[in-house]
């Protein structure tokens, strides 16, 4: 019988890495290879329960199920019967049902820790019900034009904007020299006055 691919989450937040999340992820991949078990490893952010890190989660039909290996040496124990199902006796049970999480009302942090923070492919569907329509791209827009037009453009956006288009950000000018002496070295290149 062909087994389906199981999604397994091991955080890569600094707080998780500091307690061995990388080692746990490597051990998990090695153990799955040894057992011939197919997984999709997702390096998500932390759910915020730092005292449970490294918090390994397994996606089950009943939701994500939390497991807590003490370290890489404990990874083989994660394959005990029931661990990869939402069995109440194994691990922490459904992560969302952990009282500290369940009691919280998360707004801006609602998506924190659920997905790989560097994956646009998984971020977009999750954001569909949140930001205003057209948040990602309007017709004929690119990320840089939208960023520039928002008025909070950063350095990268300024560099990508045509020099003639102007913008709301302040322009920098080189400070006037207070010394009349002839400079002994080449004058540094003037700071850009246009974006």
């Amino acid at each position: 019988m062909m087994r389906s691919v199981t999604r397994v989450f091991v955080p890569r937040d600094a707080a998780a890495l500091a307690v061995g999340a990388d080692e746990v992820a490597a051990a998990l991949v090695a153990e799955c290879a040894r057992r011939g078990r197919a997984i999709e490893l997702v390096r998500n952010g932390s759910r915020g329960l730092f005292w449970l890190e490294p918090l390994v989660e397994v996606a089950t039909p009943a939701g994500r199920h939390g497991l807590r290996p003490g370290g890489a040496d404990d990874v083989p124990g994660l394959f005990a019967p029931g661990c990869w199902r939402a069995a109440p006796s194994a691990g922490h049970g459904p992560t969302d049902a952990i009282p500290y999480l369940k009691r919280q009302q998360r707004l801006t942090f609602a998506r924190i820790g659920l997905i790989d923070p560097l994956s646009l492919a998984t971020t977009r569907p999750m954001a569909a019900g949140g930001p205003a329509p057209g948040f990602w791209h309007g017709p004929g827009e690119t990320s840089s034009t939208r960023c520039c037009d928002s008025g909070c453009a950063g350095a990268a956006a300024r560099r990508s904007r045509p020099a003639s288009s102007g913008g709301p950000w302040p322009r920098r000018r080189p400070r006037k020299s207070t010394s009349s002496a002839t400079p002994t070295r080449a004058t540094p290149a003037p700071l850009p006055t246009a974006c």
């Binding site: 707080a15 300024r158 920098r172 070295r185 700071l191």
Partner: protein, 184 residues
């Protein structure tokens, strides 16, 4: 916790692997400090408030910010030497002399203090034969107190060569130090 101005740098989301043991620094030609600084300043010329990013980049490239390059940074950013020196000397993160081959930073802020940071520092001092705030005479290790690595919920914490370690027990500290291969 807020970051103490004399504290270490903030915890990084992505950590570097610890370098291989006893990597001789002489295996790579030393970069020309002035040329390195000029390139870094040029790369940051277009951003507002470039001084701190420049100082970080210089330290990352050279290992420290030697006094000999302060004038070059000041010239390149159109600042006075005093302004640049003031920022370098204000933040303990910026070094004016090269550190040891390994840098061990033990958090001494409130949460870690409450969870045994003093004992951890004393143990590190004994294991490494190095006093806090100093680099060993053989250049093998630098031991520093830092004031918040951002891991208060997982105290006590320390950082070794830019790699974070949390919930550090005396036994774990012994293992970490052993991997450094620092002679006693």
């Amino acid at each position: 916790l807020t970051r103490h101005p004399k504290g270490g740098k903030l915890a990084l989301a992505s950590q570097k692997e610890e370098p291989a043991l006893s990597t001789p620094a002489s295996s790579h030609p030393a970069p020309d400090p002035i040329a390195t600084v000029r390139a870094i300043v040029a790369a940051h010329a277009a951003i507002p408030g470039p001084l701190l990013p420049v100082l970080h980049a210089v330290q990352d490239a050279l290992g420290c910010i030697p006094p000999t390059v302060v004038g070059e940074i000041a010239q390149g950013l159109n600042l006075s030497r005093a302004e640049v020196h003031g920022v370098i000397s204000y933040y303990a993160h910026f070094r004016q002399a090269p550190p040891g081959q390994h840098v061990v930073q033990v958090c001494q802020a409130e949460a870690c203090k409450a969870c045994g940071a003093d004992a951890l520092m004393a143990q590190a001092q004994a294991l490494l034969a190095c006093a806090p705030h100093t680099t060993r005479a053989d250049g093998a290790v630098t031991l520093e107190p830092v004031y918040c690595l951002g891991l208060c919920a997982s105290s006590p914490a320390l950082m070794v060569n830019d790699r974070l370690h949390a919930r550090v027990t005396p036994q774990r500290l012994g293992q970490i130090v052993a991997t450094l291969g620092v002679p006693a």
